[in-house]
């Protein structure tokens, strides 16, 4: 394999203006002639470099988003970071470093890149469309300077041989033109440039799809305890984020009940993965709309629920102890399941119960659920030693208001369900003055000191956390991504090749056939291609090799 044969030789006479730009630098520019073409080439060069610069910038600009906490992934971490680094973190925040992917500078880079892309793709599309309609260029005067050149003599008249080769080339998906009596021009591989253009256009489509998704889609999060139901409307959600063009009144009216949350953990004693999650399944009863028939569906982390165009994902789970709380007057002031949020290892979970209706004094409870209680640690407090509910215990502290006073709402507005504001509450104490610490097991009732009431731990249920998402454009985004993939593959592997054939009669019923080719860029296959095209000719049984073959051919001619 010669290294020079892949490069188009100078003086090939092939007009390359319809072929995509950017050959490897060693290629000498073809004779361009017109000033216009030069200007075009210059602009091309500029824009290729600009595109390259912007691509690099894009890569660099994406990095800080992986090094610094990001609001869209973990807002709490960002708060923490701001608190830990009071000096420069504020500046980083102002410069958008905690929202990198929606920051002005990141957006500016990719928008500029896409402008450059449009500016680049439009002229190339025009040129390519022209190329698709233009027949392959005339046969160069001297074929023997081109890669893979071969000359052989075969029986038959020139015209017949040309006809035969034209058929062969068409069968090999070449476009064939016959500019004169004694030669053929053939070209194939237009798909490469088509693919390249399709790739770049798909990137535009992809960006448009992503943008559309954020305009017309919505997402929301909700916690559902076993036995409870959820309806897809805004009030049911714990948090809800609609796109700017979403009519929250008309979202899909589905609903579901969480029948059971099934969870399994690695229980192999002493294994390094002891306690690691192995299975999460949520059994649901789903209705597409009120009044429609119900269906049973099980969803798990990789198997979301598809309903009404939206998707519900199982993103978390935890425990919701069922509690009954009576006030000092003996009446039931609260009864129900309270979701506790996992905050530590092995599902040690934190929860808050507010009982504003307890009389005469309001009751506020905060504490931990330990699914498998493992005692108290001097630093960490109560610990859980396994995530499954093998030995569930509640470790609670209790607060009360002054008799008859409302300490649970601020100006009539209840505070967060997951936090207890104790500023106007007093902790209950043991007889010895220590703060009261309850440790409850299921079915246990304790009587609170000072006649504040009773707390009963009725049992444990699980809950599931769902993420509901509606993204009308994601199919389009996927389609664009797959088109880009197909396009870039075609672009990188389809080779644009030109072949030329020239014949001349020897006058003895034989024909001298010359074939040579030219390719763009990376293509060592031209000699092989020429050889195999020539080999299809009748009477051209294997006939020497390229350069050395030249001599063998001469010998053949002398015969």
């Amino acid at each position: 394999m010669s290294t020079t044969s892949e490069r188009p030789a100078s003086g090939a006479g092939a007009d390359v203006d319809d072929v995509r730009p950017g050959p490897p630098p060693e290629v000498r520019l073809p004779p361009l002639g017109t000033v216009g073409t030069l200007r075009w080439a210059w602009r091309q060069l500029m824009s290729m470099r600009t595109a390259l610069l912007l691509l690099l910038l894009l890569a660099v600009a994406a990095v800080p988003g992986s090094l610094l906490p990001q609001r869209r992934i973990n807002p709490a971490q960002v708060q923490q970071f701001l608190a830990d680094h009071p000096g420069y973190a504020g500046w980083l925040d102002r410069l958008g470093f905690f929202d990198v992917y929606s920051s002005v500078w990141f957006s500016a880079i990719y928008l500029l890149l896409f402008v450059s892309l449009v500016g680049c793709v439009l002229p190339r599309t025009r040129a390519h469309l022209r190329a698709l309609r233009t027949p392959p260029p005339r046969t160069p005067r001297r074929l023997d300077r081109l890669p893979g050149h071969r000359r052989i003599t075969v029986p038959g008249a020139p015209d017949a041989v040309l006809g035969e080769l034209a058929v062969t080339l068409r069968r090999r998906r070449y476009r064939v033109a016959r500019h004169d009596e004694s030669s053929l021009s053939a070209e194939r591989g237009y798909l490469g440039e088509t693919g390249n253009l399709a790739f770049h256009v798909s990137l535009l489509a992809l960006l448009a799809g992503v943008a559309a998704g954020s305009l017309f889609g919505y997402s929301g999060q909700v916690l559902v305890v076993e036995g409870q139901s959820f309806s897809n409307s805004v009030p049911y959600y714990d948090s809800f984020t609609p796109g700017t063009r979403v009519d929250t009144g008309s979202i899909a009216p589905f609903s579901f009940t969480l029948d059971r949350m099934r969870v399994r953990f690695d229980a192999q004693d002493g294994g390094s993965q002891f306690g690691a999650p192995r299975q999460f399944d949520a059994d649901l009863t789903v209705r597409n709309a009120p009044g429609e028939s119900a269906r049973a569906v099980t969803i798990s982390p990789n198997h979301p629920l598809d309903v009404g165009g939206a998707r519900a994902f199982l993103v978390g789970n935890g425990y919701a102890p069922v509690l009954t709380i009576r006030g000092g007057d003996g009446t039931v002031a609260f009864s129900g399941a309270v979701p506790f949020l996992p905050i530590g290892g092995n599902y040690k979970s934190l929860g808050v119960v507010k009982v504003p209706y307890a009389k005469p004094r309001q009751i506020g409870i905060t504490g931990f659920l330990l699914p498998t209680f493992g005692g108290f640690d001097p630093q960490k407090g109560p610990v859980s030693i396994f995530p499954d509910a093998a030995l569930p215990r509640l470790a609670l502290g209790v607060f009360v208001s002054r008799p008859g006073e409302d300490a649970m709402t601020t100006n009539g507005v209840p505070t967060s369900v997951y936090a207890l504001d104790v500023s106007r509450l007093t902790p209950l104490k043991e007889a010895d003055g220590d703060q009261l610490r309850l440790l409850l097991q299921p079915d246990q009732t304790v009587t609170l000191p000072d006649g504040a009431g009773t707390v009963t731990f009725d049992g444990l249920r699980r809950y599931a956390a769902f993420d509901v998402r509606y993204d009308p454009s994601k199919v389009w985004v996927l389609a664009a991504a797959l088109t880009a993939l197909a396009g870039v593959t075609a672009s990188l592997f389809v080779r644009r090749r030109r072949l030329w054939v020239r014949v001349s009669g020897t006058g003895e019923g034989r024909t001298v056939v010359e074939v040579a080719g030219l390719s763009r860029g990376e293509d060592a296959g031209i000699p092989a291609e020429v050889r195999s095209v020539v080999a299809t000719l009748r009477g051209a049984a294997d006939d020497g090799v390229d350069a050395a073959g030249e001599r063998r051919t001469q010998r053949v001619e002398r015969e």
Binding site: G22, P24, A62, Q70, S272, R311, F313, A481, L492, E522
Partner: protein, 336 residues
């Protein structure tokens, strides 16, 4: 249980055995390379010598070639085949053996865990380096790239060392978010793409070194160190080999990113979250897109493009080593 534990243990022993054999292969490859360096320049391309020898009358474009080839002929004809000529063959055989041992280790690991063997960093490293060796052996069957052996087996051995020393995690099941056939597709293709990036990176490095030597020689300075480089193809040929590897790797990486997005959509409901793993996959993709652009930017030679390829590979390494271990995101399943 017992069978599974035995298999897990067997897998570990197989990994150690493979490492031992790789060490031998590395030595043999190094010897081979050193031997090549000592050989007359063109002896590494005997085919050419044969072609020209069969047709001693120079053709129109074989003038330059027959000159050097003629001297080669003389050299090869006189010197008896030296002993180190076998080192390359031995190295390849050892690499095959190590590959098979490692393959067995990976299979045993998979069976013992009851799933595809790439659920944590240790398994990623062992399976990933297996794919690198596999890709190298496949390429080796098609063309003689033994000169790359040192640069492939060396990193593979390093990776395995890192895996057993730092990343080791005992065999066990998978966390639920990973239980998806998309994982299989996503990770498999990512492995193959990374393996090709690895080969492409090695080739680009060699290309740059070779280029330096060529430049030094052009100004009349005979490079003193690295005689083994004489055995390697000229830098422009290395450049083309690197390009061919990258051109296969790029669409595969594109596919990896898309498959990852599909998987993310299945698992978390969002196809793109910009979590650290995704950020770096994106950065890798953009840098290699830059490589392809740089390569076809007029007036730029293959050297600048090679730097893009090297930067891209630095990102690949960063993504695997640093991001997997130190960054928390949705992808935090590394088990370290």
């Amino acid at each position: 249980m017992a069978v599974e534990e035995t298999l897990a243990h067997a897998s570990n022993v197989l990994v150690y055995s493979a490492m031992a054999v790789y060490t031998g292969a590395l030595g043999a490859f190094a010897l081979d390379l050193a031997g090549r360096g000592a050989r007359p320049v063109a002896a590494a391309v005997p085919e050419r010598a044969v072609v020209v020898a069969a047709a001693p009358v120079g053709g129109p474009d074989s003038g330059a070639r027959s000159g050097s080839a003629g001297s080669v002929e003389a050299a090869t004809a006189q010197a008896p085949r030296p002993r180190w000529a076998n080192a390359g063959g031995i190295a390849v055989s050892l690499t095959w053996l190590a590959f098979l041992l490692q393959l067995a280790a990976v299979v045993a690991r998979g069976i013992s865990a009851g799933r595809a063997p790439w659920g944590n960093m240790y398994e990623f490293a062992v399976t990933g380096s297996l794919v690198v060796t596999g890709a190298f052996l496949v390429v080796l069957r098609r063309r003689d790239v033994r000169y790359l052996g040192t640069f492939v087996v060396g990193p593979v051995l390093l990776t395995l060392g890192l895996a057993v020393a730092v990343l080791y995690t005992p065999s066990a099941g998978l966390v639920p978010a990973l239980q998806s056939y998309w994982l299989l597709i996503h990770v498999t293709v990512a492995f193959v793409a990374s393996a090709l990036f690895t080969l492409g990176f090695s080739t680009s490095i060699l290309q740059l070194v070779q280029h330096r030597r060529e430049r030094a020689r052009a100004v009349g300075r005979e490079p003193r160190r690295g005689r083994f480089m004489e055995a390697l193809p000229p830098s422009d040929e290395l450049e083309r080999s690197a390009y061919r590897l990258h051109v296969v790797a790029f669409p595969l990486w594109t596919f990896t990113v898309i498959a990852g997005a599909i998987w993310a959509e299945h698992a978390w409901g969002r196809y793109w979250n910009w979590d650290p793993k995704e950020v770096w996959s994106f950065v890798i993709w953009v840098v290699y897109a830059g490589y392809l652009h740089a390569r076809s930017t007029r007036g730029w030679d293959g050297r600048r493009a090679a730097w893009f390829a090297i930067a891209g590979y630095a990102c690949v390494l960063f993504n695997f080593l640093v991001v997997n271990i130190f960054f928390v995101g949705f992808h935090s399943y590394s088990g370290v």
